[in-house]
């Protein structure tokens, strides 16, 4: 088997489907055409750029530009987490909580995988580092965004419930425990579901890609498993970290619920 190269006509046909869908949405006033087209245009530009950047990067083994790209990916993921919060933390915290917890989970899990499991030499070889980090960041970003949003939104709505516990002498950790558990669960549901149905309902994207690119299915399956476990661990640890920092920030040193540290809701 060998890689079948895609021509521009093939891509144009696929893009035509998206255009068709947008036209349908416009015709019937479904209201998604604008967002759909912008997102499609964004992904086109971003992926072509990434392809160009990677082409250059793969020819070097100098760590500086590779690290730079990794940091750019991280900071964009941080903005994305922030953008998905209905009630953001005021000040640097809004951005910092997401970035820090993604950094802790995605970066450490990626480095661990490269040094201990895939054993790339040197570990920052871009052909492995960038795709792996991208997969991890993309997934932890989703988990952390959902978990944080759940935490702040519920804390805001359940102010009476939280403060009732504080009034009776509960610590901040006890008073937020239910909500934190709930937020963690909703952050992890996508990953858990993906693991549970992998191979039965859906062929995961990475495995599909490898098979289309001509890899033996067994090799593709093994890589997919590795990635899936890494994603689960990364999303889990990242969400736990984000929820821990986030819930701590909702209370001050006297265990007072400080909803004034959240900006007012948007939309």
């Amino acid at each position: 088997m060998s890689l079948i190269s895609l021509g521009s006509l093939d891509l144009a046909l696929a893009a035509g489907l998206v255009l068709l869908l947008s036209a349908l949405s416009w015709r019937h006033r479904l209201g998604v055409e604008r967002r759909m087209l912008i997102a499609a245009a964004r992904s086109t530009v971003q992926l072509v750029l990434l392809g160009l950047v990677l082409k250059v990067l793969f020819e070097t083994t100098h760590p500086a530009p590779i690290l730079l790209l990794a940091l750019v990916m991280l900071s964009v993921a941080g903005w994305e987490v922030l953008a998905r919060q209905q009630r953001r933390y005021r000040g640097l915290w809004g951005y910092g909580i997401g970035v820090l917890s993604m950094f802790l989970s995605s970066f450490s899990v990626t480095v661990l995988a490269l040094t201990l499991m895939i054993r790339v030499e040197p570990w920052y070889q871009p052909q492995y580092l960038i795709p792996l980090l991208g997969m991890l960041l993309g997934n932890t970003m989703n988990g952390i965004a959902i978990a944080l949003d759940g935490l702040t939104r519920q804390a805001h709505d359940a102010r009476d419930r939280i403060e009732a516990q504080l009034m009776l002498g509960a610590t901040w950790g006890e008073a937020i425990a239910d909500i934190r558990r709930d937020a963690l669960r909703s952050g992890l549901i996508p990953v858990v579901n993906a693991m549970a149905t992998a191979g039965l309902v859906s062929l995961p994207g990475m495995m599909t890609g490898q098979i289309l690119a001509g890899s033996p299915p067994m090799e593709a399956a093994k890589y997919q498993l590795l990635i899936m476990f890494l994603i689960a661990a990364g999303t889990g640890f990242g969400s736990v970290a984000a929820l821990w920092i986030g819930s701590r920030r909702l209370f001050d040193e006297r265990s007072r619920l400080r909803l004034d540290r959240l900006a007012s809701g948007r939309r």
């Binding site: 009476d160 504080l166 009034m167 009776l168 239910d178 006297r254």
Partner: protein, 214 residues
């Protein structure tokens, strides 16, 4: 037990509040809505940031962890929050019988089976009385009551007033009670303060002054 002493307390609304409630004393607080009565109680319970000194007996607010402080200085808010589906989940499991919870519930007009009730089916008045019960099993030394009988019919109001009066007598608890009900303030014979222009003053016609400085 312990007196409540408030010195130069600044809340979001009130400036430089001085107040003393002796152990076993009852002090009523009234004033127009928005005058800062509830915020004063929240500040004393350390639920909102505030500057100034507060003592419960000879223990300063900032010298002990906030959860310990709130166990000693118990606040009953005008609207209580409920975090468990069942009433019983709001009472610490170990106190259920030892501290006479069923007797307390009976005095407030409930049978012990109320612990198995679902919170969402309670009426406002039932919530208010049960919130008092879950506060009292904590044995606070100071009671801060915010409109403790606002949603109650006369029978239940009488029950709550009796329970609070007895708790105050038995535990020598200092009680600071925000109440809009003038007859209640007169009936229960406490010292009466009101908020005017951001200051605590004796309620007109109350007879007694601030107590410390007659």
């Amino acid at each position: 037990m312990s007196a409540l002493r408030v010195q130069a307390l600044d809340t979001a609304v009130l400036r430089s509040v001085d107040l003393q409630v002796e152990a076993g004393e009852l002090v009523f607080l009234s004033g127009p809505s928005g005058a800062g009565k509830s915020l004063l109680l929240r500040a004393i319970a350390d639920l909102d940031p505030s500057a100034g000194q507060i003592w419960c007996g000879d223990v300063g607010r900032s010298s002990i962890p906030a959860p310990v402080w709130r166990r000693r200085v118990g606040l009953l808010p005008s609207e209580s929050g409920w975090w468990d589906e069942q009433v019983g989940g709001h009472f610490p499991a170990r106190v259920h019988d030892r501290l006479g919870l069923s007797e307390l519930l009976a005095r407030l007009g409930f049978r012990a089976a109320v612990l198995d009730w679902e919170v969402r089916r309670l009426s406002t008045g039932e919530r208010q009385r049960l919130a008092l019960a879950r506060l009292l099993v904590n044995r606070p030394e100071v009671l801060l009551l915010d409109e403790a009988t606002a949603n109650l019919d006369p029978d239940n109001r009488g029950r709550v007033e009796a329970v609070i009066a007895d708790y105050r007598a038995e535990q020598a608890a200092a009680v600071l009670w925000v109440s809009h009900d003038r007859e209640q303030r007169l009936r229960m014979k406490g010292r009466r303060l009101t908020i005017r222009d951001g200051r605590l003053e004796p309620e007109p016609g109350a007879g007694t002054g601030l107590g410390l400085h007659p």
